[in-house]
Point group: none
Chain length 375, copies 2
């Protein structure tokens, strides 16, 4: 918690590739955005700062403007519901409180979290985070840039920002004026609740922010930018996070590390909730954990190889075991009762061992096996 890196919003890929929004596809494609293009460049160098908006191509600017206008319209529609919704949110706040954290903040406080997982994770994260210098705030950012890693969820669901070095970069005016008091999760979070102020996309000037991303991941981004940058703003299931970013269950469960959005399980609503994570948050942590995209890819391939090897070994052993098992089970009685006696082997048809490709004959009396293939 000492001096974490800036929020994930500061991490941007210079050339925003407009990949299709399918975020649950092949594992090999998930974190290749930066690697395939520039595999030799270290992570810290490959990650650029936000580009100024006027540097964007004309079509992108046009789309941004469209989004902005659409957002204004949509916002007017929502406006009339805000007051009533706020009271609803408070009701739900008592029913569905977010997981809360220990109240004391900072590392100097005495009140620490205790679970072994959390402690261990926290230590790892701190170590990982301190390797990255805190970046100064972007000039174009007009709203207070909340850094999730510096927030503590209280039981009430409000956010309290822990002041540190980074705050000196944020204009006091903004940090006061744009203070965000998020409301709580509710069953149908498609409607934004309790916003007293306007929100602007952190990647453009549109105010058509995705309320779900804002609510559940505290990232103000517009619909257009969300769809335009799936490598940042697409959602992943917990299982995908594990598979694609090699994160462990304790990590993904730790609310100090990630926020997640629980939704009814699409497979069957009575099953466990689906847990959705925001890609940029997951990716940020995964890159810290594994050492950039290259490290992640390396580990991924390593495990892939290990998995392959394991499967082969297991298959071989399984086969051998089964062969023994069937042989003994079939001929055990005979062999147990009878002394080793001399007999002429009675071999039946040849079976092909799929593992080695060798054909094998087995004696029906004693079970001895002989390979047919001779060299």
């Amino acid at each position: 918690m000492a001096s974490p890196p800036p929020a994930s919003s500061d991490l941007t890929v210079p050339s925003t590739s407009t990949t299709s929004s399918g975020d649950s596809t092949a594992k090999t494609d998930s974190h290749s955005t930066t690697t395939t293009n520039a595999p030799s460049i270290p992570y810290e160098e490959s990650v650029g700062r936000h580009v100024s908006r006027k540097e964007l191509p004309a079509d992108v600017q046009a789309r941004i403007e469209r989004n902005r206008l659409a957002a204004l319209e949509r916002r007017a529609k929502y406006q009339k519901r805000l007051d009533s919704e706020r009271s609803i949110a408070q009701q739900f706040g008592e029913v569905l409180p977010l997981p809360s954290l220990a109240s004391a903040g900072g590392e100097s406080g005495a009140g620490y979290l205790t679970s072994a997982i959390i402690e261990k994770n926290a230590a790892e994260i701190h170590k990982a985070m301190e390797e990255v210098e805190p970046l100064p705030k972007n000039e174009w950012t007009k709203f207070y840039d909340y850094d999730l890693s510096k927030m503590k969820d209280t039981r009430a669901g409000f956010i309290q920002v822990i002041d540190d070095d980074k705050k000196r970069d944020a204009e006091d005016e903004n940090s006061k004026k744009r203070k965000w008091e998020p409301t709580l999760a509710q069953p149908d979070p498609s409607i934004f609740l309790g916003a007293d102020d306007n929100y602007e996309c952190q990647d453009c000037t549109s105010i058509d922010v995705d309320f779900q991303l804002l609510r559940y991941f505290h990232v103000p981004v517009c619909i257009g930018c969300r769809d335009a940058q799936p490598e940042k703003y697409s959602l992943l299931t917990k299982t995908e996070c594990r598979a694609d970013y090699l994160l462990t269950d304790p990590e993904l469960r730790d609310t100090d590390l990630f926020s997640f959005w629980e939704r009814p399980n699409p497979k069957k609503s009575t099953w466990n909730n689906m847990m959705l994570y925001l890609r940029c948050q997951v990716e940020e942590f995964a890159f810290k954990k594994w050492g950039g995209p290259e490290g992640l890819d390396k580990e991924f391939e390593k495990r892939e190889r290990e998995k392959e090897a394991r499967k082969e070994v297991k298959f071989k052993k399984e086969l051998r075991d089964l062969r023994n098992k069937t042989r003994t089970s079939v001929w055990q009685d005979k062999r147990m009762q009878q002394r080793p006696k001399i007999h002429k082997h009675n071999f039946g048809t040849a079976l092909v061992d799929p593992e080695s490709g060798a054909s094998v004959q087995t004696c029906v009396e004693c079970g001895i096996q002989v390979e047919c293939e001779e060299f």
Copy 2:
């Protein structure tokens, strides 16, 4: 945390069966102490209060007195080491702090633990705990009876008792005079540290208390009673807790639920520490979780059946797979991809090798030789 039941020390089996101290034996035997004797009696009724000491048989009283005298002697031996040990304990306290909890206590406080596991567990525990009425304190108890479920470990390793309804039953005099300030874990905890006051066994009047049980589980019990009641005071490893009481890892890790004693791994000292739990504490929770010994046994047998069924299904499928595999390979490989050298061995009559005396068959096509004698 709301109004937990009395400490595990209040739960006693009326007839203390002197089972042998083997606590790591068969799973089926582990929680049969109360069930086999009185399987039809519900748990709440089968658990009696402590019997008064004078009701005990003469031999037990004699043993108690013996223990008491032995304890006095042993205590004198330890006495001279207390001061120096205390400073050592403080040193170790900085090196090996116990896992700490959130500082705020009680259910009304705002600072809660947050991990989803803990919250979930806590909710379950509260629900389970509130089903049991808090029992009044026993008359014979002369020392402050610490209730683990009301204690919060601070980072410093000191104990802070959270006051609640039960306190009105404890005499103020005792609660002040007998205040216990436990010292920290140290590598060799066989020596008790920092006891300013005397402790008396909670099951008899002996003061030969087991310092390890007192230190790590906050249960003052003498060596004699400890050994006489393994169904209450024997230790279990974490793995055993999982297997015998069907507790989950998150539960066992939760320091709100159990205290545990970490010791170097007996298998290999460089491995993860062995974690020891006190049976009565584990059992108490497990019975709450599963609904008494009967519920536990029922669940245990259910899982046993499931496990068996799973294994059978798996084996059958495995076998079928192999059969399919070999069959296809027999019919397919033989005809489809017949290699030039594959052939069925054509063994003739067995010949006896004059040198070794072994009977040998030889393929007339390839010349491979096979011994006929099988063991």
